[in-house]
C-alpha cells in the first residue's frame, strides 16, 4: 500500500511539474508577446540610412554656360572645331560636411545670324537690350566678340549685362580657347556662384569663428517675409510729419519685390508711431551745434523702439523693420557717426536680420518760417534709396566681385538684375538643403535616442517627402535646373519642419519609467515569482536526478 501511495505521489509530482511548465510556457509564448504588442509605442519606420546618407551628400551645382563665338573672335582654324562642350569643375572649400562642387558646363557654338546682327550695333548696352530668347533660370550666355570690336570701350575686356548675358572680348592667339575660357569662367563666377555667396548662405551651419558677423548679414531663407515701414515721430508737438508711403511703396518697393517674388511671398505694411523715442541720448557737438549718435551706441537704439513696433507678434514669417526717425526738436539735427567719428553720409544704419533705421533731419530753415508744429513733407526718394539699398543687403544681394577690366551694367528699373536673382536662388537652394538636412538629422537623432516617442504615419510620410525633395533638389541642381531645384528645396524645408514640429511627437515624451514600473509591478510581481520559483525548483531537481545515475556508476 505504501508503494502504491508512493507511485500515486510520484504521479502527482510529475503532474504538478507539467502544470508549472505549462504555466511558464503560456506566460512566455502568449503573455509576453501580448503585453509587448499592446504596450508598445507606435513607431513608423523612417529612412534612417538615407538620412545619414544626406550628411555626406555631394552637391554639384551645375551652371550651364552657352558660349557664342562671333565671326573674327578667334582664329579661323579654331572656329572649325565648333561646336563642342567643355566642363570646368571646381570644389568650393567650405568647412561644411556637405561637399559642394561647382561645375561650369560651357557649350561652345557659333553665333547665329541675328545674333551677329545684334552684336554689330553700337554699344554693349544697346546690344543687350534686344536680347530675344528667354533663358532658363540659372543659365548664362556669353558672347565672344572680335578683339577689335567697338562694342566695348577700348580698355574693357568684358561686360556683364542686366539679364543673363555677358560679352567677352576674343583674341587671335594659338591658345585662344584656353585664354578665352579662363575669362569666361571669371565672368561666369561673378554672375553665379562664388565662395562668398555660399558661405553667407550657410553662415548658420558653419563654425562660428571663421565667418564674422559681417557674413551673417542675409536674412534666413523662409517661405515669406513681412516688411514694415514705420515713421517714428517722437515730438508731434513740433513736427507734423507726412509721408506718402503708399505711393513710395507702389513706385519703388513693389517692383523690387515683384522681381524677388520667386524667392518668397512678401507683404508690406506701414505705420506711424508718435512719442517713440530712441533709447540713447545723443551727444552734443558744440562746434557744429548738432547731435551725434556714436556707432557703439547704435545697438541700444533699437530695443526700446522694438516694443512698440508690435508687428512680429502677428506674423509667422520673419519681419523686416524699416524705421524713419524724425528726431525731436531738442535733439536735431542728429547725425550718425561711424568708427572714425565722421558722420555717415546716408544718416542710416542697418541691423542684420532685423532691418534698418534712417534718421531724417528736418530742414532747419523750416523752423523760422512758421509756428510749431512745423509741417514736414518727407522726401520719399531720399528715404527709399536708403531703404532699398538696405533691403538688398538684408537679402544678401551684395555687390559682386567683378573681375578686372570688366564693365558692369546698372540694374534694371526693378533694382535687381536677373543674374543677381539667380545668384540669390542658388544660395537659397543650398541654404534650404542644408537647413532641411540638419532638421532631418537632428530629428532622426532625437527619435533614435528617445525610444518612447510615438512616430505617427503622417510624420513618417513628411520625413519621406522631405528626403525625396532633398534628393530631387540635388539632382535638379546637378542638371542645372535652378527653378525646379529651388521649389524642391523649399518643399524639403517645409516638410522637414512640419515633421520636426509635429505635436504628436510630444505626447508620450514625458511619460517617466518609474510610473510604468508602478503600474506593472502589482501585476507582474505576484505572477512572475511563483513561475520563476517553480522553474528553479524543477531545474534543480532535474539536475539532481541527472547526477544521481552518474554516482551509481
Amino acid at each position: 500500500m505504501a508503494a502504491a501511495g508512493a507511485a500515486a505521489t510520484d504521479l502527482e509530482v510529475v503532474r504538478g511539474k507539467r502544470a508549472a511548465l505549462f504555466f511558464a510556457a503560456v506566460a512566455i509564448v502568449l503573455g509576453l508577446p501580448l503585453w509587448w504588442k499592446t504596450t508598445e509605442t507606435y513607431r513608423a519606420s523612417l529612412p534612417y540610412s538615407q538620412i545619414s546618407g544626406l550628411n555626406a551628400l555631394q552637391l554639384r551645382l551645375m551652371v550651364p554656360v552657352t558660349v557664342v563665338f562671333t565671326r573674327e573672335s578667334v582664329p579661323l582654324d579654331d572656329q572649325e572645331k565648333l561646336p563642342f562642350t567643355v566642363v570646368h569643375e571646381r570644389e568650393i572649400p567650405l568647412k561644411y560636411k556637405m561637399k559642394i562642387k561647382c561645375r561650369f558646363q560651357k557649350a561652345y557654338r557659333r553665333a547665329l545670324d541675328y545674333e551677329e546682327e545684334a552684336l554689330s550695333s553700337g554699344s554693349a548696352q544697346e546690344a543687350m537690350l534686344d536680347e530675344p530668347q528667354e533663358q532658363a533660370e540659372g543659365s548664362l550666355t556669353v558672347y565672344v566678340i572680335s578683339e577689335h570690336s567697338s562694342l566695348l570701350p577700348q580698355d574693357m575686356m568684358s561686360y556683364i549685362g542686366p539679364k543673363r548675358t555677358a560679352v567677352v572680348r576674343g583674341i587671335m592667339h594659338r591658345e585662344a580657347f584656353n585664354i578665352i575660357g579662363r575669362r569666361i569662367i571669371q565672368v561666369a563666377q561673378a554672375m553665379s556662384l562664388t565662395e562668398d555667396v555660399l558661405a553667407a548662405a550657410l553662415a548658420d551651419h558653419l563654425p562660428e569663428d571663421k565667418w564674422s558677423a559681417e557674413k551673417r548679414r542675409p536674412l534666413k531663407s523662409s517661405l515669406g517675409y513681412e516688411i514694415t515701414f514705420s515713421l517714428l515721430n517722437p515730438d508731434p508737438k513740433s513736427h507734423d510729419v507726412h509721408w506718402d508711403i503708399e505711393g513710395a511703396v507702389r513706385r519703388y518697393v513693389q517692383p523690387f519685390l515683384n522681381a524677388l517674388s520667386a524667392a518668397g511671398n512678401f507683404s508690406v505694411d506701414s505705420q506711424i508711431l508718435y512719442y517713440a523715442m530712441l533709447g540713447v541720448n545723443p551727444r552734443f557737438d558744440s562746434a557744429s551745434s548738432s547731435y551725434y549718435l556714436d556707432m557703439h551706441n547704435l545697438p541700444h537704439v533699437i530695443n526700446p523702439v522694438e516694443s512698440r513696433l508690435g508687428s512680429s507678434a502677428a506674423s509667422l514669417y520673419p519681419v523686416l523693420n524699416f524705421l524713419l526717425y524724425v528726431p525731436e526738436l531738442a535733439h536735431s539735427p542728429l547725425y550718425i557717426q561711424d568708427k572714425d567719428g565722421a558722420p555717415v553720409a546716408t544718416n542710416a544704419f542697418h541691423s542684420p536680420r532685423w532691418g534698418g533705421i534712417m534718421v531724417y533731419n528736418v530742414d532747419s530753415k523750416a523752423y523760422n518760417a512758421s509756428a510749431l508744429p512745423v509741417r514736414v513733407e518727407v522726401d520719399m526718394v531720399r528715404v527709399m534709396e536708403v531703404f532699398l539699398a538696405q533691403l538688398r543687403l538684408l537679402f544678401g544681394i551684395a555687390q559682386p566681385q567683378v573681375p578686372p577690366k570688366c564693365l558692369l551694367s546698372g540694374p534694371k528699373s526693378e533694382g535687381l538684375t536677373t543674374w543677381e536673382l539667380d545668384r540669390l536662388l542658388w544660395a537659397r537652394s543650398v541654404e534650404n538643403l542644408a537647413t532641411a538636412t540638419t532638421t532631418l538629422t537632428s530629428l532622426a537623432q532625437l527619435l533614435g535616442k528617445i525610444s518612447n516617442i510615438v512616430i505617427k504615419d503622417n510624420v513618417a510620410s513628411e520625413v519621406y517627402r522631405a528626403v525625396a525633395a532633398i534628393q530631387k533638389s540635388a539632382e535638379e541642381l546637378a542638371s542645372g535646373h535652378l527653378a525646379s531645384a529651388f521649389v524642391a528645396s523649399q518643399e524639403a524645408v517645409t516638410s522637414s519642419e512640419c515633421a520636426f514640429f509635429d505635436p504628436s511627437l510630444l505626447h508620450l515624451l514625458y511619460f517617466p519609467d518609474d510610473q510604468k514600473f508602478a503600474i506593472y509591478i502589482p501585476l507582474f510581481l505576484p505572477m512572475a515569482v511563483p513561475i520563476l520559483l517553480s522553474l528553479v525548483k524543477i531545474f534543480l531537481e532535474t539536475r539532481k536526478s541527472w547526477k544521481k545515475p552518474e554516482k551509481t556508476d
Binding site: E12, G16, M295, P299, F349, S351, A389, P411, G415, P526
Partner: protein, 476 residues
C-alpha cells in the same frame, strides 16, 4: 540685438525724381474725453473714451459676408497690467500726453470696478453713406471708492485718484475734454464746489435723464496755462442727503439653481421698473455644450403669467464643436419681473478636458440684453460729430428711446468631477485581484498533495502517556 553697422553710401540709379502725389493725405483724427461722475455715496466713476478715426479705406474687398460673422465670449479673465499695456499702445499719444497720462496701472487696478473695451467699426462719412471711415473706440471705466480711501471724506481730485495731473494736451487730438457730472448740484452752489471753476457747461439727455456737465477743454490754452497743470478737485460743502441713486428702468440678474451634480436650472430675471411703459428686450444666451439644455423646460413668466416670446432662435450644441445659442425677443410688461428659466443636465467630460482646477467649477458666459428703453425726457436728435463721445457710441434714431446693452453676471457651474487618481487605483486593484486569484489557482494546480497518515493524539495523548508512565501503566 545683433550689432548694428552704418550703411555705406550705396546709391541706386533706379530712383528717378518721382512725381509727388498732390492730393492731401487724409489725417487720422483723434478725440479723447474723460467723464467724471461723483456719486452721493462717495464713489467716483471715471470713464475714458478715445476715438481714432481713419479716413483711409481699410476694407478693399467689398462687403463683409455676414455668414462669416462670429460671436465669441470668454466668460472670465483676471484683468491685469498686461491687458492695459497693449490697449495703451493703440493710443496715438501712447501715455505720454493728453488724458492718457492718467492711465497708470497701479491706480487703475486698485479700484472697485474696472471695465476696458475696444470697439472697431465702420462709420459713414456722410449722410448718404457713400464713403466709409473706420473708427477705433477705446473706453476704460473705473470706479474709485473715495469715501474709504479718503478716510471718510468724499472729496476727490484728479491727483488723489490717479496720482497724476493733466499737464498738456495730446498734440494729435482734435478734441480733448474733461466732463464733470454736476447734474443735481448746480442749482445751489451750497452742496459742492468744483475747482477750478469750469468755463462752460453742457446739458443733454443721457440715457433718458437730463444731465449737466462742467467742461474743461484741454486744447483751450487758458485751462492749463494758468497753473501749468490741471488738477480738478471737488469738495463737498455740506454732506449730501442720503438719497438713493435712481433705479435704472432695465436691469437683470442671473443665477444657477438646483442641487446635486446631475441636473440644474439656469434662471435670468429681467426687471422692468418703468411705471407704465412695456418694451421688448432681445436676450442672447450662449451656453457651453457640457451643459445639455432641455429646451422643452424653457419657461418665461412675468407677473405670474406665461410670457410668449415673439421670436426664438435656437441652435443646439454639438459636443466639443459649438455651444448652444438661444436668442429671444421678449416683451417686458410695465413694472414687472420676468423670469426666464431652462433646465440642463451636466455632461461628463473626458479626463483630459478638465481644467487644472476642476473643482473650482466652469464659467458660463453672461447673457446679453439689448433693448430700446423709453426715456423720461425726450432728447433732441444730436449731431453725430459734434456731440461728446459718451453720447455717440450708440446712435438714437428718435428721442423717446435710448439703446442699452446689458451683460449679466457670469455663472460658475460645478461639473461632476472624477477622482483623477482613479485610473491608477483601478489598475492596482484589478492587478491585485488577478494576482490573488492566479496565485491560488497556480498553487492548486502545481502543488503535490500527499495523503498524510493521521498522527494520532496530540498534546492530550502526551499528557496521558506522561500520567501512565508515572502510574507504570503501558503507554498508549
Amino acid at each position: 540685438m545683433a550689432a548694428a553697422m552704418p550703411l555705406a553710401l550705396f546709391v541706386l540709379q533706379l530712383l528717378g525724381p518721382g512725381g509727388w502725389c498732390l492730393a492731401e493725405p487724409q489725417r487720422d483724427s483723434l478725440r479723447e474725453e474723460l467723464v467724471i461722475t461723483p456719486l452721493p455715496s462717495g464713489d467716483v466713476a471715471a470713464t475714458f473714451q478715445f476715438r481714432t478715426r481713419w479716413d483711409s479705406e481699410l476694407q478693399r474687398e467689398g462687403d463683409t459676408d455676414h455668414y462669416f460673422l462670429r460671436y465669441a465670449v470668454l466668460p472670465r479673465e483676471v484683468v491685469c497690467t498686461e491687458n492695459l499695456t497693449p490697449w495703451k499702445k493703440l493710443l496715438p499719444c501712447s501715455s505720454k500726453a493728453g488724458l492718457s497720462v492718467l492711465l497708470k496701472a497701479d491706480r487703475l487696478f486698485h479700484t472697485s470696478y474696472h471695465s476696458q473695451a475696444v470697439h472697431i467699426r465702420p462709420v459713414c462719412r456722410n449722410a448718404r453713406c457713400t464713403s466709409i471711415s473706420w473708427e477705433l473706440r477705446q473706453t476704460l471705466s473705473v470706479v474709485f471708492d473715495a469715501f474709504i480711501t479718503g478716510q471718510g471724506k468724499k472729496d476727490w481730485s484728479l491727483f488723489r485718484m490717479f496720482s497724476r495731473t493733466l499737464t498738456e494736451p495730446c498734440p494729435l487730438a482734435s478734441e480733448s475734454r474733461v466732463y464733470v457730472d454736476i447734474t443735481n448740484y448746480n442749482q445751489d452752489n451750497e452742496t459742492l464746489e468744483v475747482n477750478p471753476p469750469p468755463t462752460t457747461t453742457y446739458q443733454d439727455v443721457i440715457l433718458g435723464t437730463r444731465k449737466t456737465y462742467a467742461i474743461y477743454d484741454l486744447l483751450d490754452t487758458a485751462t492749463i496755462n494758468n497753473s501749468r497743470n490741471l488738477n480738478i478737485q471737488l469738495k463737498w460743502k455740506r454732506p449730501a442727503e442720503n438719497e438713493f441713486p435712481p433705479v435704472p428702468f432695465l436691469h437683470a440678474q442671473r443665477y444657477v439653481s438646483g442641487y446635486g451634480l446631475q441636473k440644474g436650472e439656469l434662471s435670468t430675471l429681467l426687471y422692468n421698473t418703468h411705471p407704465y411703459r412695456a418694451f421688448p428686450v432681445l436676450l442672447l444666451d450662449t451656453v457651453p455644450w457640457y451643459l445639455r439644455l432641455y429646451v422643452h423646460t424653457l419657461t418665461i413668466t412675468s407677473k405670474g403669467k406665461d410670457n410668449k416670446p415673439s421670436y426664438i432662435h435656437y441652435q443646439p450644441a454639438q459636443d466639443r464643436l459649438q455651444p448652444h445659442l438661444l436668442e429671444m425677443l421678449i416683451q417686458l410688461p410695465a413694472n414687472s419681473v420676468t423670469k426666464v428659466s431652462i433646465q440642463f443636465e451636466r455632461a461628463l467630460l473626458k479626463w483630459t478636458e478638465y481644467t487644472p482646477d476642476p473643482n473650482h467649477g466652469f464659467y458660463v458666459s453672461p447673457s446679453v440684453l439689448s433693448a430700446l428703453v423709453p426715456s423720461m425726457v425726450a432728447a433732441k436728435p444730436v449731431d453725430w460729430e459734434e456731440s461728446p463721445l459718451f453720447n455717440s457710441l450708440f446712435p438714437v434714431s428718435d428721442g423717446s428711446n435710448y439703446f442699452v446693452r446689458l451683460y449679466t453676471e457670469p455663472l460658475l457651474v460645478n461639473l461632476p468631477t472624477p477622482d483623477f487618481s482613479m485610473p491608477y487605483n483601478v489598475i492596482c486593484l484589478t492587478c491585485t485581484v488577478v494576482a490573488v486569484c492566479y496565485g491560488s489557482f497556480y498553487n492548486l494546480l502545481t502543488r503535490t498533495f500527499h495523503i498524510e497518515e493521521p498522527r494520532t493524539g496530540g498534546l492530550a495523548k502526551r499528557l496521558a502517556n506522561l500520567i501512565r508512565r508515572i502510574r507504570g501503566v503501558p503507554l498508549l
